[in-house]
Every structure is written in C-alpha cells, then in structure tokens.
Symmetry: C2
Subunit: 341 residues, 2 copies
C-alpha cells in the first residue's frame, strides 16, 4: 500500500538536501545551519508536509499517546474528569486514546490489549480494583499506569478519593441535625469499588453516630432516575419512620426526590434527601437536596501530571508501590448545608 502523501524524501529531493538533514531541521533545528533550515522549512510549508507520527513512533518506540479505559455507568460519564485529563495531557504534549465501555459489558484486559497494540506510552484506568489479567499485562509490558478515582488502596499508583470520608461527612451532618433512622439507596456494588465504599462508609458512619440503618432500608440498584424513583417509593411504603434518605449518586437522588414529591412528601421538611454527586447538576437545580461532590477536575489533572512526570523519567513507574503523594484524601467535597428542620 503506497502512501500518497509528501514524505521527508520529497522535501529532501526538492531542496537538494538529504533526508537526514531534513529530519534534523525539523526535530533538532539547532543542528542545522540557519539558511539550510529556512530553505527546508519553506519547502515544508509549501508542500504541506506533515511528519508521519507513525513512522516516528516506530523508530522512537514512543507515540506520545496515552490510553484510557473509563467504563461508564449508564449515562453517568465522567466528563469533567475526562476534560481535565485530556487537557492536562495535551499541555504535556500527549494525546488521549479513549475507551469507554459500558460497565456491564466491560472486558478490561481486552480493552487494554487493544490500546497497547495501538502503541500507547501509558495507561489510565478507573479505580484501584482490576482483574489479575490486567495487572499481569501491565507488569509484563512495564507500562506506566495511573488509576483515577480509586476508592480503596490498590497495587497501582493512583489518585485516590476517600469515599468513606465523604460518607462520614454526610452522616455526621445528618446526625447533627437530629436524624435517627435513615435509608440508603446504593448503586450496584459489584465491580464498582466506589459504590461499595460509599455503602461501607455509610454503614460505619451510622454506627459511629448511633443511628439506625436497617438492612431492609438499604436498596442496591443500578444508577438511574427511574431506579431512584422506584427505590424511594419502596422505602416510604415500607418504613414510615425514616427521616432521611441518602443516595449513592445524583441520578438516584434526583429520582428519589421526584418520587417523594409525587407522594406529597415534603423535602426536606418531612424527609431529607442526600446525594453523593458525580455531577454538578442535581446540587444546583434543587436546593432541597443535600449533596457532596467529588473533585473531578483535580483527579483528572493530577493523574495526567503524574503520568507526564513518569514519562519524563522523573519517577520510577514502579507498579508495586503506591504513589502516596498523589493521593487526594483531604477533600471529597463540601456538604452544602441547607435548611433541614
């Protein structure tokens, strides 16, 4: 398959110089005489020559591309995190090759293999928990990795978010307002360490505050408006003494809110609804919702910066040790106080 584009040889031919010189003029300008360089640059722009990054990547075994596998949960996608990740990478001269499989269909090792075949220099993953095969690939290729938004410590370096601390913020807040008996609408915890840690944190905080969270009042469901709606209805039909419903994410909280309203239940006067937020929407739109938000901007940015450092050779990409300096623990967000009774 013969390419039809201008190559370095064409530029060489026209300028009467050698391919080597042209190459140098482009990537090591200081190694070439002023006039020669100018002549080359002129013909380059005249011919519309564009470096073939594939060939360059082959010889350098470096593609300046970072791959990311970011599973999504229904319509919950991590746009802010992605944005900051991408723009931070871009600032460092890297491109983002993105794989975002639906979580129910995710086959991480396979996704990673595809990315590696594409010639990525580093890898971004969501969360700390990964199948052994994933770890094997990473170890085997010795490819720099960073995990984003891990909720539990893991073997890979990553930007950690303390989901349990977030849960404590919420429950402590509710306790301070005098709430006693609460319910929790959780996301599916299987294969989702964040959901699992949120649930665990809620349970621990409830105990610490001597509150009550009956097993029957923990509903585990997929993230979604409708799911939150149904779960909330089930809860209020079942237990009449709940004063607060905490939700594992903002979709659930939003659905729950609608459900309560449809029953004529006042929020937050009769029942308080709290959401752990993946999105800034719910929090803004409905002030009757108590929310705690995740610092997505920071996560993406920190992850990108770390990788760029590693790729510069400034860190040893040792997959055995956790990069503690990058752990974001101090802030999972603030609780927006509102006029709960």
């Amino acid at each position: 398959m013969k390419s039809k584009y201008v190559s370095i040889k064409d530029v060489a031919k026209i300028t009467g110089l050698s391919p080597g010189t042209v190459s140098r003029a482009l990537s090591r300008p200081e190694m070439v005489k002023e006039v020669t360089r100018k002549r080359i640059l002129d013909t380059v722009s005249q011919l519309g020559y564009v470096t073939n990054g594939v060939a360059r990547a082959l010889v350098n075994s470096k593609s300046y591309t970072v791959g990311a596998v970011i599973p999504r949960f229904g319509s919950a996608t991590f746009s802010t995190m992605l944005q900051t990740l991408e723009s931070s990478l871009e600032k460092g001269g890297y491109r983002l090759l993105l794989s975002m499989p639906e979580i129910s269909r995710v086959n991480e090792p396979s996704n990673i293999r595809t990315l590696i075949e594409s010639g990525i220099d580093a890898l971004v993953l969501l969360g700390a928990l990964h199948p052994p095969e994933t770890l094997a690939i990473i170890q085997n290729r010795n490819i720099p990795v960073v995990t984003m938004w891990s909720a539990v410590p893991g073997p890979l370096p990553g930007v950690h978010v303390d989901e349990q601390a977030g849960a404590f913020l919420i429950i402590n807040h509710l306790a301070s307002l005098g709430h006693q008996k609460i319910a929790f609408i959780s996301g599916v915890t299987q294969n989702n360490e964040r959901a699992a840690q949120r649930l665990r944190g809620i349970q621990l905080a409830v105990i610490a505050n001597r509150m009550t969270l009956d097993e029957a009042n923990i509903i585990e469901t997929r993230y979604g408006f409708e799911e939150g709606f149904k779960a909330a209805l089930a809860l209020v039909d079942r237990s009449h003494d709940i004063t607060a419903i905490v939700c594992g994410n903002d979709y659930l909280a939003t659905g729950a809110l609608s459900a309560l309203k449809s029953r004529g239940i006042r929020v937050p006067q009769d029942i308080s609804v709290t959401g752990i937020n993946d999105n800034d929407y719910a929090a803004y739109l409905n002030p009757s919702l108590t929310t705690i938000s995740i610092p997505f901007e920071q996560i993406g940015q920190t992850a990108a910066k770390y990788l760029i450092e590693v790729l510069k050779g400034n860190h040893t990409p040792n997959v055995e040790t956790h990069e503690l300096k990058l752990v974001v623990r101090e802030s999972t967000g603030q609780v927006r106080k509102n006029n709960l009774s």
Copy 2:
C-alpha cells in the same frame, strides 16, 4: 532506542519459522497450515507477544484510529454523543483519539494537525462551520470526515440536526398555550452555529406565531447556571408582562428556574420556563420545565457508522457533497407537555 518487547522475529526464532509465516498465522490464519499455526499461536501466548500496531500502521498506512475534535462549552460536554460515537467505532474495529479543547481556546486547525500526525484514518468534527484552514487540511489530505450535530448545511458530510425546527416546536407549543410575550436567554452565538440557529429559529417562530420577542428580551450569555440565573433576574426586573422564558440550553434554564423561584415567581403558573436540552438532567429533575432534547445517541452512532462505511470504501469520501442520507431532520426531540396554565 531499542525496544524491549517480544517481536515477531522472536516468535519466528523460537518456532523455527520465518517472520513472514508468523505474521500470516496471525493476520491471515487461513494461509497457514493448521499445525504450524497452532505451534505459532502457542509460542505467541507463551511469550506474551503483542502485535506492534505502529509498525503495522506504517506498512499498511492505516491505523484503525479515528480522531475527533469536540470543543466543549464550559462544563457542557457531549457525553452521550461521545459514548455512542466511541462504542460504535469500537464495534467497527476503530479506536478514538479524542481532542476536546475548551471552546474559548480552540484552535481547530492545530488540533487537527496533531491528530493527523498521529496517523488517524478519519476525522470527526463538531458542527458544519469551520475555518478555511480546516477545510484546506481536509481537502489536502483527502481524509474522510464527518461532522456531528451541524446546525446549518455545510461543505462537509455530516449528521445534521435541525435546530430551527426544534425552536419552532417550542414556540408553537407556547403559542398553543396562549403565550404572547416571551423572552429568550441565548448562548453565545459567535463561533457556535447551534446557538445561532436556536436564536434564529426562535425569532422566526415568534414571527410565524405573531408573538412578541423584544430585542431587549433577548439576552446572550455564556452557558452556565449562574449566567441563566442572572439573565432571568434581569428579565423579570425589566419586563413585567413576560409569560414565558425560553432558554438556549439546560444550564441556562436551570439557572433561570432558580432565579424565578428566588423571586417567589411560580413556574409555570406565573412564568413558563423552557429549555433546549443538551442533557437529560434538567428535564427529569424538574417537571415544571418544558424541554426539548437533542438525539445525541443517534448522532454519535450515525456519524461512526458513516465513517466506517467510508473507510470500507463503500462511499466516496467526497468533501464537496453533503451526505444527505445521513441528515437527521425528523426529530430533534419531543416537547414534554406539562400543565401550563
């Protein structure tokens, strides 16, 4: 820079076969004897050999990668569109190289050049309107392109959304409810053909329905909660006879809603608020909001499918003609009716 990974030669050496045969066993299994292939496959998995896609891309001048430049507007990102784009590409065996610059800082030609250097096979752009330089690059490289969510006809093939028709849906609806004098909070129309067409559509529909939309009641502002909030306050302070506020996107609508509530204005009894949605959130969360939504899933999917066909050679990637078959005109979404007085 000597690569440290297993290559096809290593597999060849161990199996005692030639590199060519190993290559064939992997990419053209039918051309190689059953036993030989099995022997190769065994050593391949034993050595953990992974094809070097960069080398493959070089010789084939095909990388199975599609580049996309999707500017974002503040926190408005097109997650659903991206999701369906990515997953549809993936089904067709393509990877997505994503560039998502903040719209205020976008330098499209430069972004495209970077993607092209990376060796993409095709390009995805947002909207129909692009600087001449962009068109020149595309023409020059003769690279397959598709535009997503173009609001006006353009020189490039694309998935078109009729924003004006959407605007008519809204205004006709308001007219049928008896509204006479309305206001419009628009996104910044400069460099945003969608925002511009929304505004234009609203104006035309207002005339067609013999309604009133004073120049002073058109506020153009950045997309955002706060911006919508401020704009709505300004409107109600200025004009006391408006019965409906239409907003250019859901962030604006959400902010406007909050503003009216803060003034004790009932929605929709006193003033009706309508949003054109980039997001399913506002619509769900607040039933007092009338919304019209954009079919993002379809857009991403259609764009991907088109490109895959083009790359298969089934369409001529002629940048001169608009791919009419791909234009999505029939549905920019439904108006959710609500109990407007």
